[in-house]
């Protein structure tokens, strides 16, 4: 090969790089075999907390994953392909993403979805930016019961653009519907709420949507996809943009990622969607096919005027989400949501009966709820962790001063025995 190139050594090929620019250090150990690597990885995974029974969420949930999801998303043709720039040899990815978009529309009650965003937090931030573009306004109203991790991402994105954020404190554990309605001004591009919210509470957002629309603002709803098997969808309540963290649709916990964010909207706002969109079309012989469409919005064409900078999204995770919902099907998905609801209601009944513990949510909840303990929750959680159970997320970490509150998550994977054991351990931790 060197002869063909006309070089005498590989070093010759690096001659264009001036000597003074060469690396000053490159201090890495020698390579190993894959067997030695796996031994190291197994050791790290052993210290991964997987022996702890998780009653925690924070937007990330321990749900079942059908075996078919792993198998199909592990098909090399899916996971070693790139962004489908050449549609004729990428119909697999393209059709799957089109089916994904259709699934997200059905999940959220919306009309147009993109092909995925990074995660729940960045999806919410992109939705806020989208609302600014659509309305031409410069501020948003953000409910205080939106997941604090997501709020932090939203505020970071908006701060860069010097857009205003009006953050309301939560009304206890509830969405502050009145407060939000009263905070909408003519500068408000969107009202942002979460459904169910960080504390597990569920609210009907229909009136809020109407009020926002009356004032020329949009309603952005961040929703928990599994809950959409039971709860009114953002679309049904009149939301303009629905987003969410897609992890619970077939993506493993995996210490924080990769997951995917979803975003869907009304058809009239489609040109303001960030990211890739797949559209249906036909080929030269009239056969149906799929392509990346509306690319004029994107960074590789529009550069700094693009709707977003996003290039790589989370295709493979979105594919997992699609296969997850297609695996369960319409009824199975609804049944799964109902099972989550039943499990959490049962947990409420036994945890709420622990001496000194009370339930805080005023509204109905879905699969998460908030307890008030007679001791600081952080202390209790730390103690129970050592006993092998993650009892919940202390509210104080995100809402200073609310020391004794604990958000508890119960998915379909938690057994009655585990719930009962949590109640017993909690009582022990509180009173012994």
């Amino acid at each position: 090969m060197l002869a063909v190139i006309g070089a005498s050594s590989v070093d010759d090929l690096f001659a264009p790089i001036p000597k003074e620019l060469r690396a000053k250090s490159f201090n890495l150990p020698a390579g190993v075999s894959e067997f030695e690597l796996m031994a190291l990885m197994r050791e790290k995974a052993r210290q991964g907390g997987t022996e702890i029974v998780p009653f925690i969420g924070g937007g990330i949930y321990d749900h079942i994953i059908p075996a078919a999801v792993d198998h199909l998303s592990g098909r090399a043709e899916f996971y070693t392909a790139y962004t489908p720039y050449q549609p004729e040899c990428a119909q697999g990815t393209l059709q799957a993403l089109y089916e994904y978009q259709s699934a997200i529309c059905r999940l959220t009650g919306m009309e147009a979805s993109n092909a995925s965003l990074y995660d729940g937090g960045t999806a919410l931030a992109e939705a806020a930016l989208m609302a600014l573009r659509i309305t031409g306004r410069h501020a948003v109203v953000l409910d205080g019961s939106v997941n604090p991790l997501h709020r932090e991402v939203v505020c970071g994105y908006l701060a860069s653009l010097e857009a205003g954020v009006c953050q309301l404190p939560p009304a206890g554990c509830e969405v502050d519907l009145d407060g939000l309605m009263n905070s909408i001004t003519e500068e408000t591009a969107a009202v942002i709420v979460q459904h169910p919210n960080f504390f597990g509470s569920v609210a009907d957002l229909t009136a809020l949507a109407k009020k926002a629309h009356d004032q020329g603002a949009l309603l952005i709803v961040s929703c928990y996809p599994i809950a959409m098997g039971l709860l009114k969808s953002p679309g049904e309540m009149g939301a303009d943009i629905a987003v969410g963290e897609g992890q619970s649709l077939g993506n493993p916990l995996s210490f924080g990622g990769p997951y995917f964010g979803f975003i869907a909207t009304r058809k009239r706002f489609i040109r303001n969607l960030p990211g890739r969109i797949v559209g249906e079309t036909v080929d030269t012989q009239g056969r149906r096919g799929y392509v990346l469409t509306l690319q004029a919005r994107e960074q590789h064409i529009k550069r700094h005027k693009a709707t977003s900078n996003i290039c790589s999204n989370q295709s493979l995770c979105a594919l997992r989400g699609l296969i997850f919902v297609a695996s369960l099907g319409k009824k199975g998905f609804a049944d799964l949501a109902a099972l989550n609801y039943d499990k959490a209601e049962y947990a409420k009944s036994v945890l709420g009966a622990v001496k000194g513990v009370s339930l805080v949510n005023a509204a109905p909840t879905f699969n998460e709820f908030t307890l008030r303990l007679p001791k600081p929750a952080a202390e209790v959680v730390a103690r129970l962790l050592d006993a092998g159970v993650a009892a919940g997320v202390p509210v104080s970490g995100y809402y200073p001063g609310r020391d004794n509150e604990l958000v508890v998550t119960v998915t379909e994977k938690r057994t009655k025995a585990e719930i009962d054991a949590l109640a017993a351990r909690l009582e022990e931790a509180l009173w012994n």
Partner: protein, 479 residues
């Protein structure tokens, strides 16, 4: 092929959900309940599996086809990394954020920290964050860190400079981080015009964003000077690591003068591309910028254990946890598997392969910048255009011959660009087969250009009508 929705038969399901072991709860109030279940497809597990298995077969991929997609670094993804990634499937990230939780997740935390250390050494930076979820996300994060740095110094700068050959994400990311963009043209020698750059630089410029080697595959010998010019104006130098695969162990951006860098784990560090993601875009910075890195940070405590902290002056959270952890596992493993010497060989082989391709093809294809390239080379189909054959036609012909086409029409500053990046993992035999087909295409252009216009003919669909798609905006199936 039918859509999965078109295979739906009411009442079917591909998986049984667990039996409930708790009482049925009182129903939610009707006002909160969904009126109609989401219309997901109802199919048996067989129909589900057959559908997506067959759908997968309608893709080209690295594991089935040579994929010389310039600027995307479609290298082979070692299978052992998939096994490694799966080991961490059940690790809940919230555990790390609970009071007393860190000690239960020392394995994953040590891995995050280990990868950050590896990347710092590889790039010559002082500290790295793995939080950004893709390359463009890393760019935005990097620029936000730069903005926070200037702000902390009481400066409000307005501009970010990018060369016209840059990836579109560069200006887009800088814009999302609140900056206006100044674009510098490419000089005839293939690099950013140094005089124009010098002229554009001033104390309202926050940063210059460079890709090096650039998207023409050319290493800019003035790169240290470019950094220096920025520094003199109080601006910072940002390194887009998309093309890092060319210079592992040869050049470290930190040594050259760059202040901020992002790398693409899904390019240089061998993690799979997943049909467009997930990627991962860690950001490295020099010491002065460390305080502005996003929250949370994984730190090594004095007792050797690992913890989670925030920088109070940091830009806050740019994603929900520690980044695309599963991707990080694979990159961490990749660096361990190859080791230092192995990474150097990566770049040497990548550069050797690209120069071999360039030497073999430049007889038939116009090479706008005829010099030693790094990991990729950019041709133009301008000679073929004289016979009415576009870069796109050549691309489609390659599909029929079993090769994924190179990147076409990018970079924007080359007409009818054909951007080839073979990567280090391809064998000479594979490259020779590709070269043969490329030469055939050139010959066919002279003899029967129409044959190229018809391509592809061997795929499930022929050329697709993109205009119609954009007009129809059919992005969701009915029902």
């Amino acid at each position: 092929m039918e859509l999965i929705y078109e295979k739906s038969v009411a009442g079917r399901s591909g998986v049984r959900i667990p039996v409930s072991d708790v009482p049925k709860a009182a129903p939610l109030p009707e006002a909160l309940r969904r009126t109609e279940a989401a219309g997901f497809p109802e199919v048996s597990e067989l129909d589900l599996v057959r559908h997506y298995t067959n759908l997968s077969r309608r893709n080209f991929s690295v594991d089935t086809n040579f994929y010389p997609l310039g600027s995307c670094t479609m290298k082979y993804n070692a299978k052992v990394m998939e096994q490694a990634g799966a080991l961490f499937a059940d690790c809940h990230p919230m555990l790390a954020l609970l009071p007393g939780g860190e000690k239960h997740v020392q394995g994953p935390l040590s891995l995050v920290h280990g990868l950050e250390q590896q990347l710092a050494e590889i790039t010559g930076m002082d500290e790295v964050t793995t939080q950004p979820l893709a390359g463009a996300h890393g760019e935005m994060t990097g620029i936000m860190v730069i903005a926070a740095y200037h702000k902390a110094r009481g400066e409000k700068r307005k501009y970010v400079i990018v060369p016209d050959s840059s990836h579109g994400t560069n200006p887009a990311s800088a814009a999302m981080a609140g900056y206006e963009i100044i674009t510098i043209p490419t000089a005839p020698y293939g690099d950013m015009d140094l005089d124009a750059y010098r002229a554009a630089m001033n104390n309202e410029v926050a940063a210059v964003m460079m890709t090096c080697p650039n998207t023409l595959g050319i290493f800019n010998p003035h790169i240290a000077e470019i950094c220096e010019i920025a520094h003199q104006a109080g601006a910072l130098a940002y390194y887009d690591g998309a093309n890092l695969n060319a210079i592992l162990g040869k050049v470290r951006p930190g040594d050259v003068g760059f202040d901020v860098i992002h790398v693409n784990l899904h390019k240089t560090f061998g993690t799979p591309h997943g049909g467009g993601g997930p990627g991962s875009g860690p950001v490295g910075v020099k010491k002065a910028l460390i305080p502005y890195l996003p929250t949370p940070r994984v730190v090594k405590n004095t007792d050797g254990s690992f913890g989670v902290e925030s920088h109070p002056e940091g830009i806050g959270r740019v994603s929900d946890f520690f980044g695309n952890f599963g991707i990080m596992v694979r990159a961490f493993g990749y660096i361990i598997l190859l080791g230092g010497e192995g990474l150097i060989e990566v770049s040497e082989q990548a550069v050797l392969n690209a120069n071999y391709m360039m030497a073999k093809l430049k007889g038939e294809y116009e090479l706008p910048f005829d010099m030693t390239c790094m990991h990729e080379c950019v041709f133009s189909a301008s000679r073929q255009l004289k016979d009415g054959v576009h870069a796109l036609d050549i691309a489609k012909y390659l599909i029929d011959r079993g090769f994924h086409p190179p990147t076409v029409y990018f970079p924007l500053n080359v007409k009818e660009a054909i951007m080839i990046e073979p990567t280090e993992t391809e064998s000479k035999a594979t490259m020779d087969a590709f070269i043969e087909v490329m030469l055939e295409a050139a010959q066919l252009t002279r003899e029967n250009p129409d044959a190229l216009h018809q391509a592809p003919e061997t795929m499930p669909v022929g050329r697709l009508d993109e205009t119609r798609a954009a007009r129809a905006q059919q992005v969701c199936c009915e029902g």
